[in-house]
Amino acid sequence: MKNPVYTAIAIGVGIVVLLGYFLQIDLLANLRIVLLEWATILVAVALLVGIVNLFVVHFRKSAADQQNRINSIVLIVSMTITLLVAGWFGPTHTYSLWIFNYIQIPIEASLMAILTVMLIYAGIRLLRRKPNLLTIVFIATAVIILLMSGALFGIDIPGLSELRIWIGKVPAVAGARGILLGVSLGIVAAGLRILIGADRPYGGS
């Protein structure tokens, strides 16, 4: 055990917050609210630390004679300009919105468009290898969902619209519920392991 203080703090805070949900005691409820406010502040500070670290790392890369230093230089220049504009004029100013509307959104939307092309290409190549039952089911589901997500020129193919709704409500939801149940059980297990000190992601081994 590296540092029992960390473990004691984590377990104590976890138990106080957990009891605040179940016991209607003002002291516990107020303590829970205060601890959550502290957590919010700490996460915000961690975000700032991450930004500073990103800047420092890329500043060193740009200063060093490396092959891809141009990427680091672009990042530093972009970050500096954005920080200056948003910090001086405010995040909702026209200049700040211009950066967001004409740089950030088009870049991220372009990445999504490339992803679309790559997914279609992967779907085409999927049948090139020896197709089995699962491959055919996968391709058929994708084609049906795509066709019926749009308007299909107003053409009503009997059964196809119902099939699309059934796929969306039964198989897809069943899989999603399984995932949600697994996630919930995993979260409970992870929380319990932290509460009993078996997991110490905060530093104590």
Binding site: T40, L47, T92, F100, V117, I120, S149, F153, G154, A176
Partner: protein, 538 residues
């Protein structure tokens, strides 16, 4: 007292002694060597003690040992060198030897049989070589023991030293041990061949060469194997990429076809794609918004990324438009760092026709850090969690409420009439639903939760909408849900542009997968079958 010289060190000893008083060597070789070299010696009886220093044991000595003793006693009487000189040939005598022999002719010969005594004076007439002089000087050193200094001690059976146990123990030198035989019938004798086996003697092991003798064919095989192993470890050069490979051509064709399919409806503006007639989730949202009172307060969460802004903004446009038509006051918040500016963009671009004023009709609270923990903190205690808006406006300066009209007396999340969240991430959606749902489970609570999600999130969110109790009261999914809502309430300007392009895009994508996949699979199969038939026919 008669004296006898020690055969080992040459010192005079009493003739009655069995062992030398100086070096403890046996004065009479016939005395048992086992006694000398530590072999088990029985304790001395009275008779034996009498025999110590006497010659009673001579009678019991075997004949060969007696003869050996007699021959050894007679040996010193022989002149050293005379016999050897006689045998030397005349030409073998060198000059210096001749000179020495001439000088020695006039001098009396020393008694070779007499032991050499260190204290014996050497006359001046006798010339001593310098090496012999040095040796004499060394022997006259203070540490040497002289005969005159040794007191004569009568040996009796009771006197100390009369037994072997009482004798002074002096370690033998290596030379002495090496010369004496210590085992067998010749034990105690000097100058004899060792009885030990030669293999038992310690010696440095022979060094053998570690090099392997191999033939030329074996060497060739080794070189071949080494070459194969080295080739495996070396990276193969990558094949040069063709500028116009089949894959690149296919990707470019897909991209171009999709681009044309999406761009065509925007150019033509024909509005060929009708809006969906009915969507259950959208209809429920419409009902909830219609029930909002005048100046209702609505909390709107902007939790999506800029990459999906087009879909979510288009889906949320008719819904937010409807809410603003109802005169609701909006509070905007986000758990994503990009959310606050996306909210500002949405209000300024799509809802600019409503003339909502920041701080008066809506307020943007900005970024709420901490993920689920921050969200819980805000839902329980908005005043303690966020103090300023994104524009730096202080929110809670008035006692018991806010100085901002939009917030009024908001103290907790259930003071809002509706919570509407625009989300594209499953984890964020789960955080909103699972943290807010239990607070809205009280039947007396009138707050409703509405989600506007990306189409990819529908399977994750729908269980919360279809489940009992219902944790999500209304659901608008993707462009299709937004289009269905737009058909209910009107306001189809933005969605009509997107809906046509979206419908064309999904149709073309489905056709590309279907036709392209079949072409990839069917054409090669047909070709293979045709080739097989050609081979069979001849």
């Amino acid at each position: 007292m008669d004296q006898i010289s020690c055969p080992s060190c040459g010192k005079p000893n009493s003739v009655d002694n069995k062992f030398c008083d100086f070096c403890l060597s046996a004065l009479h070789p016939e005395s048992s060597g086992e006694e000398v070299f530590g072999a088990p010696i029985p304790p001395l009886s009275g008779e034996n003690r009498e025999g110590l220093g006497g010659h009673e044991s001579d009678a019991e000595a075997p004949d060969w040992l007696s003869e050996l003793e007699r021959s050894k006693e007679a040996e010193p009487e022989e002149s050293l060198g005379t016999e050897a000189d006689e045998k030397l040939p005349a030409d073998a005598v060198t000059d210096w030897m001749s000179e020495v022999s001439e000088e020695d002719e006039g001098k009396p010969e020393p008694d070779s049989a007499a032991p050499f005594l260190p204290d014996q004076e050497i006359s001046d007439s006798q010339e001593i070589p310098h090496w012999l002089n040095d040796a004499l000087i060394e022997e006259e050193s203070p540490g040497s023991i002289e005969d005159e200094d040794l007191p004569e001690i009568p040996i009796s059976s009771d006197a100390p030293g009369s037994s072997l146990e009482d004798l002074p123990v002096t370690p033998f030198s290596d030379e002495t041990l090496g010369d004496l035989e210590n085992a067998g019938p010749l034990a105690g004798l000097k100058g004899i061949l060792s009885a030990e086996a030669g293999a038992a003697r310690a010696k440095t092991p022979k060094a053998y060469s570690s090099s392997l003798r191999i033939s030329s064919s074996q060497r060739a095989h080794i070189e071949l194997l080494t070459g194969l192993v080295e080739e495996e470890g070396q990276p193969l050069p990558l094949p040069e990429r063709k500028a116009l490979s089949q894959q690149n051509v296919m990707r470019w064709v897909i991209g171009l076809v999709l681009f044309v399919a999406v761009l065509w409806p925007l150019v033509v503006s024909s509005e060929q794609m009708p809006f969906p007639v009915y969507d259950e989730g959208s209809s429920e949202v419409n009902r909830l918004i219609n029930q909002l009172p005048e100046n209702a307060r609505v909390l709107v969460g902007f939790d999506f990324e800029p990459g999906l802004a087009a879909e979510l903004e288009a889906a949320a446009d008719p819904v937010i438009n409807h809410i603003m038509d109802q005169g609701a006051l909006l509070t905007l918040i986000s758990t994503s760092p990009n959310g606050p500016i996306l909210a500002e963009r949405f209000m300024q671009s799509t809802q600019s026709g409503h003339q909502y004023i920041n701080g008066l009709d809506y307020i943007n609270l900005g970024y709420l850090p901490g993920g689920a923990a921050g969200l819980v903190s805000f839902l329980d205690n908005p005043q303690g969690t966020i103090s300023f808006s994104i524009d730096g406006i202080p929110l809670w300066e008035t006692e018991g409420g806010s100085n901002v009209p939009v917030l009024g007396d908001i103290d907790q999340v259930t003071d809002y009439e509706m919570v509407l969240v625009m989300v594209d991430d499953p984890e964020t959606a789960r955080a909103w639903i699972e943290q807010l749902g239990p607070r809205l489970s009280d039947p007396l609570e009138l707050t409703s939760l509405v989600l506007i999600t990306s189409a990819q999130l529908e399977p994750v969110v729908r269980p919360y909408y279809d489940g009992i109790p219902q944790m999500v009261n209304g659901l608008v999914v993707g462009l299709r849900g937004g289009a269905a809502y737009a058909r209910l309430v009107g306001g189809e300007d933005l969605l009509s542009q997107y809906w046509d392009a979206f419908s064309w895009g999904t149709f073309v994508a489905a056709m590309l997968i279907l036709v392209g996949g079949l072409g990839y699979y069917v054409v090669p199969e047909l070709t293979r079958t045709a080739k097989g038939q050609d081979k069979v026919e001849p």
